[in-house]
């Protein structure tokens, strides 16, 4: 497939601190990749370099090459804002905009980028909310504040908001870690559906979740605190869970560690 996302030999820094070293991996369109690994090994850091959110942090710096459909995301002529429009992101903690209604939240990305047409906005809102499995719950209160929803609904609102701008790739950093099992189930179902249109990368601490939703799993680890995190191995999810090559992967997925 042409629209691959390729990460090659990437080092990531926070100021002088090298947080992640030598990551190489490829993401296929219409597939789900899970990032697993112990806390602090750099999963979020790698994820945030895929849409150039890493450089928002003071001192954040990336070496190596990251290409989407053959274009270097870090080339001088590339606009990070355009990259983020193409590669959307859902955060660990739901972050609806507190001054906005549910409707305004969903269309925020479109409206703040200049779309004014009312009926187009309304269409986009309904499409995205249906896409995020939230439409039925909120269709009668689109003008109520987004912050008034439950945590799971807020997270789905954030997913709706992310897919409203029609990105190619959707990054999710522990999207279920603040949610109850039922909301988690709803989001996992959603990932399954979204997969038909998007490339998805999800960070999770829940190994069952990684096994359930992902096609490909990447295991990250770090040798010791203060050392950079590394990609230990990546492969089709069943192989990583059943026949891992590395001992540390084996230890991690069998729950003997972390």
């Amino acid at each position: 497939m042409a629209n691959r996302l390729k990460v090659e030999d990437v080092n990531i820094y926070y100021g002088a601190f090298k947080a992640v070293e030598g990551v190489t991996l490829t993401f296929e369109p219409r597939s789900v990749t899970a990032f697993i690994g112990p806390s602090g090994c750099g999963k979020s850091t790698v994820l945030r370099t895929l849409n150039r959110m890493h450089e928002v942090i003071p001192g954040g710096r990336v070496e190596g090459s990251i290409t989407l459909a053959g274009q270097d995301l870090y080339a001088a002529e590339v606009d990070p804002v355009a990259v983020r429009r193409t590669v959307g992101m859902v955060f660990q903690r739901p972050n609806p905009f507190p001054t906005m209604t549910i409707f305004d939240n969903v269309v925020a990305g479109l409206r703040l980028n200049g779309l004014r047409n009312k009926s187009e906005l309304a269409d986009a809102a309904e499409r995205s909310l249906r896409g995020a499995n939230l439409w039925n719950e909120v269709k009668d209160r689109l003008n109520k504040p987004g912050a008034g929803l439950s945590g799971g609904q807020q997270q789905r609102l954030c997913i709706a908001r992310a897919i409203a701008v029609e990105p190619h790739v959707l990054l999710m950093d522990e999207p279920c870690s603040a949610l109850d099992p039922i909301s988690t189930q709803a989001i996992e179902d959603l990932i399954e559906e979204l997969k038909t249109d998007y490339m998805i990368v999800i960070v999770t601490h829940n190994l069952q979740q990684a096994a359930r939703v992902s096609d490909q799993t990447a295991f990250f680890n770090l040798a010791a605190t203060g050392q950079p995190g590394k990609l230990v191995e990546v492969g089709p999810t069943p192989r990583i869970f059943e026949h891992p090559v590395h001992e540390s992967t084996e230890a991690y997925v069998s729950g003997r560690f972390g």
């Binding site: 003071p58 905009f97 001054t99 703040l112 980028n113 908001r161």
Partner: protein
């Protein structure tokens, strides 16, 4: 860290040393986990006494702090309200009213104070807010540190110094007249640091997650600031502006130095004298032996307090109308 603990558990069944460590650990746990019932009753007598003392001290301090406030307010209201009840107070000026005459109007001074406050705010609010945005959203490095330092210094400048500075520039250096606009300039110097500092605090309170959430939608930074960050911080910013205005409206030194009083209505910022409430009080102070002047001073003070109060209420109302929705 997790790696070492995993290693230890696997070892625990192995070497004698590891078994010893495991035993010690189990013993330690037995020390910590007791079978004593948890203590759920209120603390000891001395603990309760401390609590009582702290409570009394707290309420006493609160009461002490309230005494002067209530006293001043009570006196001002009691001695000034009568003139405010007459409609002439709100419609007439002091024109043709002598110090010995009772009452008269304050509308000339009210207008002057409001106009000067409005112009001061119109200059300081945008400058202050843009400065705060620079410091919080863009400021790293030397310029931001220098600006921040300057704002600190400016906020410590006594009003008389601000007034004399403007006097030195406006009158001594350029040779201009003492006019209302010069007063506004010195008030701007006093208001900017209040606006900058309060706006800065409010912007810092906006969670970073909101900014990142907006960036992640492909929204440029400046739109994120104007459409996400500023609206979220709006009510706090309004409160800060109101505080700044309240401070500025009660200022007297710049008015005495740069804006001489007149008893007639005079609303031109750029020409001639301009009456204000503080200078009106000062005018009557020169005749303080007269009961009529004394009463007018109290009434003028009450008018100023009411205007500041009204502005605060308007600010709160505006802040409530378009702020964070819950």
């Amino acid at each position: 860290m997790s790696a070492t603990s995993a290693a230890e558990t696997t070892e625990a069944t192995g070497t004698p040393l590891a078994r010893l460590v495991a035993a010690r650990r189990a013993a330690y746990r037995a020390d910590v986990v007791t079978d004593d019932p948890p203590q759920l009753t209120r603390g000891s007598a001395s603990r309760r006494l401390t609590d009582q003392v702290a409570r009394v001290v707290m309420w006493a301090s609160f009461g002490l702090a309230m005494v002067p406030l209530v006293w001043i307010l009570g006196t001002v209201v009691a001695r000034g309200y009568e003139l405010l009840l007459a409609s002439s107070w709100w419609t007439l000026s002091q024109r043709n009213i002598n110090a010995a005459d009772v009452g008269g109007g304050a509308v000339h001074a009210i207008q002057g104070t409001l106009i000067q406050a409005a112009v001061t705010a119109a200059i300081s609010v945008p400058l202050g807010i843009f400065t705060a945005i620079h410091l919080v959203e863009y400021g790293r490095g030397r310029l931001a540190r220098a600006v921040s330092f300057m704002v600190d210094i400016l906020s410590g400048v006594p009003s008389i110094v601000a007034a004399l500075f403007i006097y030195a520039v406006w009158v001594t250096t350029f040779g201009f007249q003492r006019i209302g606009f010069a007063v506004c300039l010195s008030l701007v110097l006093l208001m900017i640091p209040v606006v900058v500092r309060s706006t800065e605090e409010m912007l810092k309170l906006v969670p970073n997650g909101l900014r990142e959430g907006s960036y992640a939608l492909g929204v440029p930074k400046w739109i994120t600031i104007t459409r996400i960050v500023l609206p979220t911080a709006f009510s706090g910013i309004v409160t800060g502006v109101m505080l700044g205005l309240a401070r500025v409206m009660g200022e007297t030194a710049p008015l005495l130095i740069l804006g001489p009083y007149t008893k007639s209505i005079a609303t031109n910022l750029f020409d001639g004298y301009m009456p204000t409430l503080p200078t009106m009080i000062n005018q009557d102070r020169t005749e303080i032996g007269l009961d009529s002047a004394m009463e007018r001073m109290w009434a003028t003070a009450l008018t100023l307090i009411l205007i500041v109060l009204a502005l605060n209420l308007i600010g709160r109302w505006a802040a409530r109308r378009s702020s964070v929705r819950r």
